[in-house]
Each structure stands twice: as C-alpha cells, then as structure tokens.
Symmetry: C2
Subunit: 302 residues, 2 copies
C-alpha cells in the first residue's frame, strides 16, 4: 500500500449497496468499483485491492450460491462480515413531482421489493427494469429525465444530484443483505470478542453424515447461525483446498455451516477435527468477528 | 372445470421458463400467465386456476425465500415438483447476423449466466437488462429491432417469430431450477413410488433443536434432500397453520427440510410426531411424488 487508505473492491457502480457495505466494513476506505464479482476477487489476488466485499445472502432472496462457488474457486479468506439493511429511496431530478412521474426505473429486484409502495405512491408510473440501482440514478441525471424516478440508495441521490422523493419505500422493512469481507491472508482468530466461523464440507454418500456433523457442534454447545445443503447431482465442482489445487470433484451434496465460535477455542478445533473425520471435503472459509450491530428495520413493523 | 384442460397459473409471459415448467408438470395444460407470484396463488385460491407452478430454488441462485414466505402465508399444498434445466438461447429476427449485433437484452440474471459465452460470440454487443427473458424476445419482435438479440428460451423464439442464433449459451451447463406444483387440496400420499415431503419448522431458542430434529430422521434412515436455516431476528412472520390462522409470530430461526419419504409411511409419521415435540411451529407443505428424471445438463462438462 502506497497510500494510507485501504482499497476495497466491490461489485457495482458508486452509490451501489455493495459500496455502502464496503464503507460500513471499512470506514474511510477507498472503494473500488468492479463490474463483476469475479473481478473483485481478482483485484485482491493481484494486489490491486486489499479487501473485497461480497454479498452472500439476503433475507428475501436467500443465499447467493454463485458467490459461494467463487469463494471455493478462489483462495481468499473471510476476515469479517457486515449486515446492511436495504433501504430503498425514490429519486428524481430536483423539482420533479411524484404525480407527474411517467416511469420508475431500477434493478428488477428493487422494483419487486417496492411494488406495493409504488402502487400507492405513483400508480400512474410504468416500471422499467435496468441493470442496477445506482446505474438507474446515474442514467436519469445523465439524460436529464424529468418524468422518470429511480429506486436506489440515498447515497446515489447525493452522488448524481437527485432529490429523495420518498424514503424507505421497500414493502418489507426487514430486507437485509449479509456481506463478507475477503483478504489474501486469514486473520488470527481471537477469543476476546464474539467470533463466527464459516465452513463448507461435502460427502459422497450416507444420510447420517449431516447428523454426525451437527452432533460435533451440539455436544460442545456451539450454536449454528446458518446451515444449508446444496445438491450437486450432475456437477463436478472445481475446488481449491490445501491438498489439491483446482481439482474437479464430484459430490452429491455440499453443506454451508456458520457457527458461533472462534477457531482459537479448543472446542471449535475439536469440533472441526470431528467434522473432518466424517466428511470427504472440508474447507474453512474464515474465522472472523461477528457483526453484532442489531438489525435495524427501516420501518418498524413490530 | 368446464373444459377438459387443467388450468395452471405461472408467473411471467408466454415463453417464460415457468411456462415450460407448467408444461413439463402438466402436459397439455392451459397455462395461465400472471404478472406476480402472489397473483398465481390467488388464481388457484379463487378457482380461476386449478394449479400453480412456483420456482423455489435454483442451482446457482439458491432458495427463493420470498416464495417460501408466500407458501407460509397461503394455504395451498405442494402436490408435485419438477426440475427444469435452464437452457438459454440467443434469439434475433430472421436474417440477423451475430457479427452485426449492437446489443443483447434479457433479464439481468440471464445476462449474467451467459456472460462468458456472449463475450466469445459477440464481443461488440452491449448488454442491456430488461424485465424478463420472454419479454425481451417479444420486445424485439414488436419493434422489429434488427441489431438486437435476446437471451430467452427456444420456445420464446417460436412464439415471437425469432431465429435461434446460438443454442445453450449459458456458461454453467448445470443451471437447474426446481419448481413445485400447488393445489387447493393435498394429494393422498402413496407408497408405491418415491415420495418427498416438505416441511417448515421453527423454534424460539436452543442450539440443539436442529440436532434433535435431524436425529428423528437419521435414526429412521430417512434421507434429507434439502435443509436450510433462515434467520428471522427482528421479523415476525405471518403464518397460517392449522391452529392459528394468520397469526404473526416471532421466531429466531425457521428451517426448511425436504425428506425422501411419503407421509403414508409409518416411519415418516413417527418422525414428524417427534419433530413436533421439539419445535414450536411445524407445517407440512406437502407430500408428493419425487421428480425422478435425471438432471440433463445442456452441455456436457463431465
């Protein structure tokens, strides 16, 4: 690093939610936009960036399997996590009035997430899908469109000189995306604050493997915060592990587990040793400080 | 039913992958397009349709949590499943040549799924995101666009009079979406062919509940084909169960499990009784014949 700022790669354009996640994870970082997720991995691997920030699951959309695939195909380590409430705003050029909007543009997921609210706010406006949320805001500004609004972040409004017509317009207030931070080197796990550890494992056959794996955690009172199976019937997956670099392997199932313990703890080390006994593939994606900030729904519904 | 055809609601426009899933599930059905997933549920509840076909997971995108929410908010039953390989084609007006394309339009997910192949086939063409795949094909035909191609199904080419410029252009050949079929009444589970049962359960606290639940299946040699946890920290979920209609409840976690057994089997009934003992909410989404057709990757990579 020549400068003093940490360089953090993210997928998207300035004003994207991933950029906000990068800023939450690393305040005052230099956020580097990348047009693809894989480019963000490469940026870190090639020392163009120091960290990457990658969305891995959303409370409505579920796990992003594609990004778990990238984690397995690359050698980066998870060094942290950050949860970001998705807070959508309706943006337009200053002076635009809600009742004269003829269309609303955004990413299709954002349009879907605001469907009911939009119907109340501006029933006359057509919806049009574009590539991304921040890109929609940029497009309105660049083309000086006075009849069009975008769904994007408040930050996108600032960046592209737009006005926030309505704030927090998502139908479901508890829409949260979980991002992980990636680095070339793992961090040294500690025990002086809550840590989480993410693993991926696979086995070829047998119904009771998962049961045995869970027993390794249950008997040691280690809580799981995520468990997910992923069928891999016809599909060999190219894995990078410590023994085999880039070998294509075939597994019937892969499992993702996050557990609430630091790898510095003996019980976690013992649990992992047991997991390795029962499985044919095991990779630790990282052991990292938990994001303890409470989820803040943008509109209370409880 | 006045006619002889089964009416099957799906989300999307004609030529959509959901329409293909409806046709695979119910050959010769009358497929009814709906603009939203929830409209497909309502169509069945209001007797406008006999069945709905709903995507619940994709091999790259993961589980579609939003659709699991709809299953919990409505009272329909899963009566079957169908797995559909996502087979993308590049479509254009007859006579259009690949090297003169100036843009490719489709749903952002479809564009992402064909990124590498597109870069090889037509590096000069810009990508533009639109609402849906079949809608992109329709748009090209309706506007007679000679410089634009769409990524959509081969069926969309037929419907909108386009030509298939390239077939099977997805980067990952094993992109499969799993759909479930929904009806007002459950089917009577049988034991003369392989059945699968889908359940959702929740508990308030305790690290070992999942372990206990899995033991109920493991000790009875019942295989799980899916297990997934879903955090619900701040979010009460409006549930419809047999005891409480539409009560909002708060759970720390919900779990989705699919297991390979019919509810007509005593071991499955006993396992469920045990699950109920350990959990505070349990709902059987359905017990239905397994889709036994092998996954057929559209391009062999093994």
């Amino acid at each position: 690093m020549h400068g003093s700022q940490l360089r953090v790669a993210y997928q998207g354009v300035p004003g994207a939610y991933s950029e906000a996640a990068a800023g939450k994870a690393y305040p005052n970082c230099e956020a580097i936009p990348c047009d693809q997720f894989e480019v963000a991995f490469q940026a870190v691997e090639l020392w163009i960036a120091d960290r990457a920030v990658l969305p891995v699951e959303n409370s409505l959309g579920g796990s992003i399997h594609r990004n778990y695939d990238l984690l397995l195909r690359h050698r980066l380590h998870i060094v942290g996590e950050v949860q970001l409430p998705v807070h959508h705003c309706l943006l337009a050029l200053p002076g635009t009035r809600m009742e004269y909007l003829s269309r609303v543009i955004s990413h299709p997921q954002a349009l879907a997430q605001c469907e009911h609210t939009l119907t109340k706010l501006c029933p006359q406006a057509a919806r049009e899908a574009v590539d991304d949320t921040a890109g929609a805001a940029e497009y309105i500004a660049a083309n000086n469109l006075r009849d069009t609004a975008a769904i994007a972040s408040a930050r996108a409004a600032e960046l592209y000189g737009l006005q926030v017509l309505a704030d927090g317009i998502q139908d479901d207030s508890s829409n949260v995306t979980r991002f992980v931070m990636l680095a070339r080197e793992p961090i040294i796990p500690r025990t002086d604050r809550p840590f989480k550890t993410s693993i991926v494992f696979a086995h070829d056959k047998g119904t009771s493997v998962l049961f045995k794996v869970l027993s390794a955690f249950a008997f040691r009172n280690i809580s799981l915060t995520k468990i997910e199976s992923r069928p891999h019937r016809n599909r060999p997956i190219r894995l990078v592990d410590d023994a085999n670099v880039g070998t294509a392997k075939h597994f019937e199932y892969m499992f993702y587990i996050d557990f609430e313990a630091s790898l510095a703890e003996v019980r976690a080390q013992n649990a992992l040793a047991e997991v390795q006994e029962f499985t044919s593939f095991l990779r630790v994606l990282g052991s990292y400080p938990m994001d303890m900030t409470p989820w803040c729904p943008s509109r209370g519904d409880q």
